[in-house]
Amino acid sequence: MSASAAEFESLLREALSPVEPSADLVQRLESTLVSLTELAQEELDSWELSAMRDPRNWVRPAAAAVVGVSAGTALVALRVRARHRTRRQQSGSVGELARRTLRDVADEARRVVSGH
């Protein structure tokens, strides 16, 4: 390699220096990954079948199931789970809570698939 070529590559290396991600990104990404690992397969495996009788518990296995489908739908799980408490307060009955939960899962899945 000629001196000028070596010099040019040295400048190129300097121009394309590695870029540090922002602290915000690191925090957000790690929080998402931690949430994903919390929604582990074991959570679904160890789920007591009897708990399924109570629709207030449906959101947890539903969330664990979508993680197995794709990383994109894992976002669905995180969003739906985050809104679960609000729905519980708003729901007048167990049946209504179950309907709202399932509708939310479907809405979030549509949003993720459509890229919003």
Binding site: E14, A15, E20, L25, L33, L36, A71
Partner: protein, 191 residues
């Protein structure tokens, strides 16, 4: 020695955490130079690791102990291609202002006041996609020919040629820009 494939999920998660810590900066650097702004680079980095998490176990099985960095960068490469196809966008021609992001990044301050580095960065954006990507992988991430070949799905030989041509084309672009600017300066000197 080959590390065994983790049998339980917690061990698999721990291995993924190691991969994440080792290569977050690589994925972010690749994304940033690929899309040209921090906002989209952050989205691309996030999506890359989510995709990687989903397929991690299979990647470990199929890698036969080889480093997983090329696999990660290939995910980012494919997502970036989809990003441009879906939004009918092209990479931005200039590296954005550091004020747009919440934390300082090194590149903008490094290039500040260095005209030759600015010219090189602008030239990199004018290269065809495959040449630009090969240069980013080599010079921003420090990947060797074999790693770049795996990330781009090419042979080692084809990758060597690609890199050589990319550097030569970039040199020509920068020299041409320099040539366009110099006559004005010389005119001033002559005047």
């Amino acid at each position: 020695m080959l590390e065994p494939i983790p049998k339980d999920k917690s061990e698999l998660d721990a291995r993924f955490a190691d991969l994440y810590r080792a290569h977050l900066r690589d994925v972010y650097s690749y994304s940033y130079y690929r899309v040209g702004n921090h906002h989209d680079a952050e989205d691309l980095t996030e999506q890359t690791f989510l995709q990687a998490y989903r397929h991690f176990e299979r990647a470990l099985r199929e890698s036969n102990g080889r480093p997983l960095r090329p696999w990660l960068i290939r995910i980012a490469h494919n997502l970036a291609a989809n990003f441009y196809r879906d939004r009918s966008r092209k990479p931005e021609s200039a590296i954005e202002d550091a004020g747009m992001v919440s934390a300082p990044h090194t590149t903008e301050s490094l290039v500040e006041g260095r005209e030759e580095l600015k010219a090189i960065l602008a030239g990199v954006q004018e290269l065809p996609d495959d040449r630009r990507e090969a240069l980013i992988m080599r010079f921003a991430l420090g990947m060797d020919n074999r790693e770049i070949a795996r990330a781009l799905g090419r042979t080692d030989g084809a990758t060597k040629v690609l890199l050589h041509r990319a550097v030569r084309q970039l040199e020509s672009i920068v020299a041409e820009r320099d040539g366009l600017m110099q006559p004005a300066g010389k005119a001033v000197e002559r005047g």
